[in-house]
Symmetry: C2
């Protein structure tokens, strides 16, 4: 088991060039005024498949041997990674099976199927998605492509922060949503190489604060099926690769409660005119909550995804 | 009264360069598949002030004489033009009074005030905004900056289509939202000069179909306070400048009912990840409804604005 390094982020960037979108960096005078800082929003909601996940999935799938590629891949995901694997497999002509919770947002399931993925649904409260994924891999000779705990996934996901630093130059802070820690680990590798004095802050929903507790106790902590509107960050814990990477390269971890998260998400909709999903607003919510600590600084924020089912909006409005 | 020509659009483009955003052109494989055409979305929701209106307002205000600029301007608007005048006046240091309906979306009123405009509210059902505007102009020596029936406004608004054609090359169709016809007239001037075989189609909400009836009867038709979710297109009729421009340069006019409009708006949110307001989705709704007529063609669509008050979303969802 080898941890990915920044060189792997660089190789991934070359591999996904011309396939993944080089997403825009959005800014807003009003949000800058509100934060008292210069905010740079990396728009991964505009990435193919609607989230940063495509970067890792395409990087991982494009490294399969011809024989493995022929047999296909299987993955488990709360949604965005599933879409990303389905899309990357479509582009690379690799069969793909997606293990997805039965209660995932309909828009995520539809999109996965639209990209030609085979969906296997499971019950989030009774079944273990990793077990199902492993069984399918064994039975059908598929390669398991996990959503975060994989060197090629982490390296690919790190290319978003790499592009951000290329576009903005050095930053003082970088706020990154954290589920299983793949995006956070990859972002931290990029920050260390390209903006060494940048403080990388991982952000979780308050109900799913396992990585924050892990970070502060230096011991792996877990959560079980946390109830949060941030459905992309319901992961039970950091993984075997993301644990050491987060402990070594991340400067701080923090949490945001669901009400503040939803409020921030709507603020981004109204001011940036960008549809960001709840999980995707974690970094922005934490940055706006920092107050004095970020005043006058240059702050990077990764808007990690924008896959929203509009029928969910009234429930979100009721939370604010 | 001289009608603006394409040369005026060109001068306006030079005047607003570096001040207005050169907005992105969005594309979506999924929406292309759905339309059977290549769709190019000009993202004026990402313009300063959240709508194309800034282009015209800045162009008009920057042409005031020093004496007129010192006294200030007054305008009436359902919202986006108000914000645009407030912002342009702030940038040019020109005092501005905004006559705005008392029931305009709160987000629009707040944004106007945030840009330092003085808001004078009126009752949409009892009072005439133009009359109030003219009275204030007379009493305070202000210059009236109407929302569409003004050569500098039309020329400035036409710069959006000019940029679109620069970015995409010739198009077969251009779908443009139509309220008072300023954006439509300016777009048609740009199309005629830059893509002469492009069919320019103006799009109104079904409840406010005055310009469509005007186009087909060649006689000025009006509506009174139409009830439609497209609050930017509730204007009573084309103006003295936009009437001849639309009759001469526009190829077709069509309408979209509110349910289809809202459905299209949400489709844009989910697929483009862009917040577009109902009025802003008129062109997209008409383009997607055209079916066979646009199949295989290159279609430009102006997403005219993105100023949304999220508290209105449940009412919109109930319409679909």
């Amino acid at each position: 088991m080898t941890l990915p390094a920044f060189a792997d982020v660089e190789s991934a960037a070359a591999r996904i060039a011309g396939v993944a979108h080089r997403t825009a960096v959005a800014t807003s005078r009003l949000l800058d005024d509100r934060a008292g800082a210069h905010l740079f929003f990396k728009c991964e909601n505009l990435q193919r498949g609607g989230a940063f996940k495509f970067r890792g999935a395409y990087n991982a799938l494009s490294r399969l041997s011809p024989a493995d590629a022929r047999r296909g891949v299987v993955t488990f995901s709360s949604g965005n990674h599933a879409q990303a694997v389905a899309l990357a497999g479509q582009l690379l002509d690799i069969p793909r099976v997606i293990v997805m919770p039965a209660d995932a947002p309909a828009v995520k399931r539809r999109a996965t199927e639209a990209y030609g993925g085979e969906v296997v649904a499971y019950d989030r409260s009774r079944e273990d998605r990793e077990e199902i994924g492993r069984r399918l891999a064994r039975e059908r000779g598929l390669t398991l492509v996990p959503p975060y705990d994989h060197a090629d996934i982490i390296a690919g996901q790190g290319t978003a922060a790499r592009e951000l630093f290329e576009d903005t130059g050095p930053l003082d802070f970088l706020f990154v949503p954290c589920g299983g820690g793949g995006l956070l680990s990859g972002s931290a590798l990029a920050a260390r190489a390209l903006s060494p004095s940048c403080q990388v802050v991982g952000v979780e929903p308050a109900a799913g604060d396992d990585a924050t507790r892990t970070f502060h106790t230096r011991q792996l902590q877990t959560v079980h099926n946390p109830q949060t509107v941030a459905d992309g960050a319901r992961t039970p814990s950091l993984g075997t690769l993301t644990l050491p990477l987060v402990l070594e390269h991340v400067h701080d971890m923090t949490t945001v409660d669901d009400a503040m998260l939803v409020e921030t998400m709507f603020l981004l909709w109204e001011r940036l005119k960008l549809v960001v999903e709840p999980t995707g607003a974690l970094g922005a919510a934490a940055a706006l909550a920092r107050g004095e600590a970020v005043r006058g600084t240059r702050v990077g924020i990764i808007l990690s995804g924008g896959n929203v089912d509009v029928s969910q909006i009234p429930a979100w409005l009721a939370m604010v």
